[in-house]
Amino acid sequence: MQLINPNSKIDFLGKRKIALGISAFMLFISLIALVPSIRGLNFGIDFTGGSLVEVQFKQAPNIADIREAISPAGYGHAIIQTFGSPEEIIIRVQNKGNSDSSSVSTAILSALKNKFGDQQIDMRRVEFVGPQVGEELTKAGISAVGIAMLAILVYVTFRFELRFALGADAALLHDVMIVLGVFALLGKEFSLPVVAAILAVIGYSLNDTIVVFDRIRENLAANSKLKNPLDEVDVCNASVNQTLSRTLMTSFTTLLVVFALFFLGGEVIHGFAFALLVGIGVGTYSSIFIASPIMLSLAGRFRSSDEELAEMDARP
């Protein structure tokens, strides 16, 4: 069976302006969405610090009743949400001053038990991140993404050439920004596992890009031996076409399993699976449409259009 025509000759690089336009638009929206005063990322307690209590009730409770139960303990301002099902409740509280915040969850749990009865509720999860730890995790997250990109830049430069490495990193940055933008736009919680997913997306998207680059390198080497070498742009176009079927097949099989994770993996890793889903989609697109054009334009390999040439001729 073959879904993709092995002899496809789609002019991907010719459509680079459209693709770059689309990407610029998506990046623009993402950047706007990431501005804290406009939308910003909805950071989870991993980064902001705070307490989270997840409890499962025997019968779906009323949110107002829960708020009433924990108000006397001083947590009336807590964020109370259902999580996956109406019986499952998550209560989030920010850290406050210097009080011993690790006891917040204890106070909330005992207030709930007092109001609803010990048998009614089941402690599912308690998380507490102190303010200092939150700061440390934020720094660690940022430096991890930075270090990963840098290490990849070094490896790809070593294995290919600098322009390939820059093209690959540009595609990565593009993917990461868009995943972040989607999280900001949808207000999805940005937690530590999401950072892990972003690193996985970096690995995956790069994997895709490398396969295309590898073919470009192979074809360029063969091309340089020809009597009448083709233009590099055409070689790249042919390479993207040759690897197209593989790129789409792999993305498809990976998306299959990530969909399984997204729908069956449970609420706890929903955000993680979502980040992978978006990242793999964008990563596939960028390795076809973004990485190669950027790599080539860094080397100044695009012929100028006829109009531009005419304009240049017209100059004194």
């Binding site: 690193l199 690995g203 792999t250 993996g265």
Partner: protein, 525 residues
């Protein structure tokens, strides 16, 4: 095509057998003759089996300050012993400040104190000194404070009777505490967070408490408050005027047990002193009959009973309207001893048992469903070659489980997600090879030549692509904590395993099935 090297086939077979053997302990118990390195099942992370995960920060600066304060008493007694009079003697941070009355004593004091405080640097002239703890010594004190805290916390947690708790140093001043299978987070935190500093001080019966509360505290005395209680509808803390000197401390306690206070029929804790403690207690009660004796627990006066008679048995009772569990916890922390410095819980991630089980089920379901979909797709899309890739994929999963079990890695929920992701990526290598073979067939190569060049040409691509993913996984491992680290582990193991199965195993299967069939006209790809 040349005959496929036999040693590779043997390598694959041995790996297969070892993988099956190492994976088996995860499904069933293995006989006793089973090699011990292959008999361990995978560790489940706390997010899967449920339990308490705490990170405790030790306030090591307080440990240094304590140390400095103790040395102040040393300085005081040396100066007294040699009849050197001083105007000021204080601890301030990492330093001891001393001013002598007569600057003529400077040299004498310097010589004596230099000997007494070998780990302090000294500055000073004209009868004024500043002794400062050396960097190395401060570091040593901090290090010891964390080590001691680990020991104390371990004893307290062991008293809970749970299996395999993990108590380990994390970084410079933090302690990681993991208690699998335990879900009373409040009890665990209460037990760990207590400093459990126990002190016995005499009440200054001659001093005037009211005057002292005005600010005229008699020299050598301090004011310590009792527990907060409600009096006349208002919160109130009873003040006590005590002698500064600590007569007895918790370090002399040999044992602490829950008992019933016979007078009020309440829960209490009975302390048993060690021989040194018993002797001190005996001497003290003999000399101070009729006076009050304050028991100070964690900076609050617990009670101040009157000494009615000499007590020589070496035991004392702490009362205070405790509930059964309060008394139980107090006995545990007093037995384990005091923490050398205050601790604070800075991170908690505790998972209830029901959520852990749900996560196992959901993670397992997504692995099964995800792989079935991929297996079906590969079979449809690449026919017989797809079947070969599928065999390799199953081998790959077996290998991941085997390696994870053998290296004692911990499987977490994100780790299961890593396995799911690996399934998707493991077939990538085969997709690359098969697509390449198809291309080679399209340009007119014979089937066997197409297979050969397909594998050869795809190889470097696969290596490059996988190494870059591996870089991301290694960075993740470096920075991640707990469950996230588990994702990095399964992803790395999965990538490496997939290189073996997707390249070597599929090649061997294809080689063996095509070897003796003469000319093959068409490939089922």
């Amino acid at each position: 095509m040349h005959a496929y090297p036999r040693w590779k086939i043997w390598l694959i077979l041995i790996t297969l057998v070892l993988s099956v053997m190492a994976s088996l302990p995860n499904v069933t118990s293995v006989p006793s003759w089973w090699p011990s390195s292959l008999s361990k099942p995978m560790n489940l992370g706390l997010d899967l089996k449920g339990g308490i995960h705490l990170v405790v920060d030790v306030d090591v600066d307080v440990a240094v300050a304590h140390n400095v304060e103790e040395e102040v008493s040393t300085v005081r007694s040396i100066l007294r012993q040699h009849k050197i009079r001083y105007k000021k003697l204080d601890a301030k941070g990492h330093s001891i400040l001393l001013t002598l009355k007569n600057s003529s004593d400077h040299e004498k004091a310097l010589a004596l104190l230099k000997d007494a405080l070998p780990k302090y640097s000294v500055e000073g002239q004209g009868g004024s000194f500043v002794f400062t703890v050396t960097e190395a010594e401060a570091k040593e004190i901090k290090h010891n404070a964390v080590e001691q805290s680990i020991e104390v916390i371990r004893q307290r947690i062991d008293a809970l009777g749970t299996t395999e708790p993990v108590i380990a140093r994390q970084g410079e001043r933090r302690i990681l505490v993991e208690i699998p299978g335990f879900n009373d987070s409040a009890a665990a935190k209460a037990l760990i967070g207590r400093t459990a500093v126990l002190e016995f001080k005499l009440v200054d019966e001659k001093g005037d408490l009211d005057q002292a509360l005005q600010g005229n505290i008699p020299p050598g005395d301090i004011i310590v408050y009792g527990k907060e209680e409600i009096r006349n509808g208002k919160p109130f803390k009873q003040p006590y005027l005590l002698k500064k000197r600590t007569e007895l401390s918790g370090s002399l306690v040999a044992d602490a047990r829950v008992s019933i206070d016979s007078r009020y029929n309440e829960h209490a804790v009975t302390l048993k002193f060690n021989s040194k403690g018993a002797r001190t207690f005996d001497r003290l009660t003999k000399a101070h009959v009729g006076e009050r004796f304050a028991i100070i627990l964690e900076g609050e006066v617990n009670s101040a009973p009157v000494i009615r008679e000499r007590i020589s048995g070496g035991s004392a009772q702490i009362t205070g309207s405790f509930t059964a569990s309060e008394a139980h916890n107090l006995a545990i922390v007093l037995r384990a001893g005091a923490l050398p410095a205050p601790v604070k819980i800075v991170e908690e991630r505790s998972i209830g048992p029901s959520l852990g089980q749900d996560s196992i089920d959901e993670g397992f379901n997504s692995i099964i469903i995800g792989s079935i979909m991929v297996l079906i797709f590969m079979l449809i899309y690449y026919k017989l070659f797809g079947l070969v890739a599928n065999i390799a994929l199953i081998f790959n999963m077996l290998l991941i489980v085997a390696v994870m079990s053998m290296i004692g890695a911990t499987l977490t929920l994100p780790g299961m997600a890593g396995i799911v992701l690996t399934i998707g990526m493991a077939v990538d290598a085969n997709v690359l090879i098969f697509e390449r073979i198809r291309e080679e067939l399209n340009i007119g190569k014979t089937p066997l030549a197409a297979i050969d060049s397909g594998y050869a040409k795809a190889f470097s691509t696969i290596v490059d692509a996988n190494i870059t993913t591996l870089i991301a996984a290694i960075v993740l491992f470096q920075f991640g904590t707990g469950p996230v680290k588990g994702f990095a582990v399964t992803l790395s193991v999965g990538i490496i395993a997939s290189m073996f199965t997707a390249i070597m195993v599929t090649r061997a299967i294809i080689a063996l099935t095509t070897e003796n069939r003469g000319r093959i006209k068409k490939l089922s790809i």
